[in-house]
């Protein structure tokens, strides 16, 4: 993976620290700039490399907040976030964040292919165009999610499920090690759910780490190594699984 000449962030593209978990948070407190109280009140999780974790909890419990804080979209009030042993922002290229669909201007005049290509920008930085290799990677990701016939379409002409797949294709094209997926199964058709699920399984097979905020554990419960339950910005320990058992649970067969 070649480094950009002029990276977007001043922080260098740091290498992972040996033996560090893919994601570590310690007593993490995060607040939205405009809100009164914090949205996360001291959350500690430790997710080893190569695991797939479900982030569950009712609306407003802080699932998205946790993902956004890890992605560097929200300021950390106190506590620690480490991605592969590095602070947030030191390794942008290793973190892919799949936003909820509503955060994108789908009317923008851009094709699916170019949307997926934006996943390569972190590796390019300022003043460098996507090259042949970037295009090949983008095309492979588009193909992987079954969007090849739509690659030239303007993004607003896709259905909801297709849009979600396009966003996941971009996350794949980024070739990140830690993928943060915010409600990828929300409001999509069954075919898209299957495709996303398969892609998740592939990623995990490649040793990537996934954190998936979701409502829907009933259908996909078998897809996850562990579950992190959030309620009102705090961790709750369900009887069957808790974050501290993750390492043991990782050994469990990937069923489903």
């Amino acid at each position: 993976m070649n480094d950009p000449w002029l990276p977007y962030s001043r922080g260098r593209h740091a290498d992972p620290v040996d033996g560090a978990p893919a994601l570590l948070t310690e007593v993490l407190v995060v607040a939205y700039p405009s809100a009164h109280g914090p949205a996360l009140r001291g959350v500690s999780v430790r997710l080893p490399c190569g695991t797939c974790t479900a982030l569950v909890g009712p609306n407003g419990s802080g699932k998205s907040t946790l993902l956004k804080a890890v992605a560097g979209l929200l300021p950390v009030i106190s506590g620690v976030v480490r991605v592969h042993g590095n602070p947030v922002g030191a390794c942008h290229h290793r973190v892919a964040y799949l936003p909820q669909r509503g955060e994108i201007d789908w009317g923008f005049p851009i094709s699916v292919e170019r949307l997926v290509l934006t996943g390569r920008y972190v590796h390019l930085g300022w003043l460098r165009w996507p090259g042949r290799r970037d295009r090949d990677i983008a095309c492979a990701a588009i193909d992987r999610l079954g969007l090849t016939s739509l690659a030239g379409q303007q993004i607003g002409k896709l259905s909801g499920g297709q849009q979600q797949r396009a966003l996941l294709a971009r996350a794949l094209a980024q070739e990140a090690d830690l993928l943060l997926l915010d409600e990828p199964f929300n409001g999509v058709d069954a075919r898209t759910q299957d495709t996303i699920y398969d892609a998740m399984r592939d990623l995990r097979g490649q040793g990537k780490t996934l954190v998936v905020a979701t409502h829907d554990l009933s259908r996909l419960g078998g897809a996850f190594d562990a579950t992190v339950h959030l309620q009102a910005g705090e961790l709750v320990s369900p009887p069957d699984a808790s974050p501290c058992c993750l390492v043991a649970e990782k050994e469990r067969a990937w069923t489903g």
Binding site: H92, I104, Q154, G187, R219
Partner: protein, 297 residues
């Protein structure tokens, strides 16, 4: 063919043509971003707020271009700053600032003797463009087009998906400031050709026309540039033949192009009931029911 080339035998008409085309192309290409980001109102405001800068520069004997540029850049920074803090809604803040600045300009104007010079600022005087003006306009054109080319992928990404931009460390507000700065530059050159009041037409109308005809950014920019060139030539010819205001003639040519494109698009859509559309509709219908189901889970 004589009637076509005849007006452009005069040196002042050649200057005017060069200025109008350069300004038109710069504004049209930049305008594609402005229209897509719904910044049309900001463009209009920037043009209006240059007036006090122009008048003060005129009174002090400074360069008008620099006076206007100073006022426009100050406003651009103010707008960018105000939109980051949500104390007042952005469009409200713009509305308050730009009318106030414009009124200040008019007030200053009414205190000066040479009212006539200043009406050129309001309505433009492309026929009076000097060689020095041309160098300034050419310089701005080069800077704007170069920056838009070099930062195209960043401008595009921050416009449609600022979240992803932030995740990869690219600051969306930085790109917005950059765009506002370019807008200030383009607006000052626009004032030379069509004046303070009509400058936003150069930014909006050709870009809006191009948006009717294509759904790709590069195509829109190319189309906008071609349209702006054609409308500048047509407008200047019109003003020469009919002896009317050149700025208004250029803007009206742009408006006419928009109307034609709008009519053509509507007609085209009526008579070709969408080749690719049925498949797309089916898909979205098929998707709708599961959306409801999965929300309930």
């Amino acid at each position: 063919m004589d009637w076509l080339t005849e007006p452009f035998r005069y040196a002042f008409m050649q200057h005017a043509l060069l200025a109008a085309v350069l300004v038109g192309v710069t504004c049209a290409v930049l305008g594609v971003h402005v229209v897509q980001r719904r910044m049309a109102f900001i463009g209009d405001a920037l043009a209006h707020t240059t007036l006090p800068g122009l008048v003060i520069a005129h009174l002090c004997g400074w360069s008008l271009s620099l006076g206007g540029l100073g006022a426009a850049l100050a406003t651009a920074l103010l707008i960018g700053w105000a939109s980051r803090r949500q104390a007042v809604k952005e469009d409200t803040a713009i509305g308050v600032v730009f009318t106030g600045m414009f009124a200040l300009g008019v007030l200053l104007m009414s205190r000066t003797r040479s009212y006539r010079d200043l009406t050129h600022m309001l309505f433009g005087n492309v026929l009076g463009v000097t060689t020095r003006d041309l160098w300034f306009i050419g310089g701005v054109a080069v800077v704007v087009l170069l920056v838009l080319t070099l930062f195209h992928k960043e401008l595009e990404l921050t416009a449609f998906d600022p979240t992803h931009a932030e995740v990869i460390g690219l600051r969306a507000d930085l790109m917005r400031f950059l765009l506002l700065g370019l807008l200030a530059l383009a607006v000052v050159t626009g004032i030379q050709t069509v004046g303070v009041i009509l400058t936003s037409a150069l930014l909006i109308t050709p870009a809006a026309t191009a948006a009717l005809l294509s759904d790709r950014m590069p195509w829109r920019m190319l189309l906008g540039a071609v349209l702006a060139t054609a409308c500048s030539v047509a407008g200047l010819m019109l003003s020469f033949v009919a002896e009317t205001s050149s700025g208004a003639a250029i803007v009206l040519s742009c408006t006419a192009a928009f109307v034609v494109a709008f009519a053509a698009r509507s007609t085209w859509q009526q008579f070709r009931p969408a080749a690719g559309e049925p498949a797309k509709k089916d898909e979205s219908n098929a998707v709708a029911p599961p959306e409801e189901v999965s929300r309930c889970n």
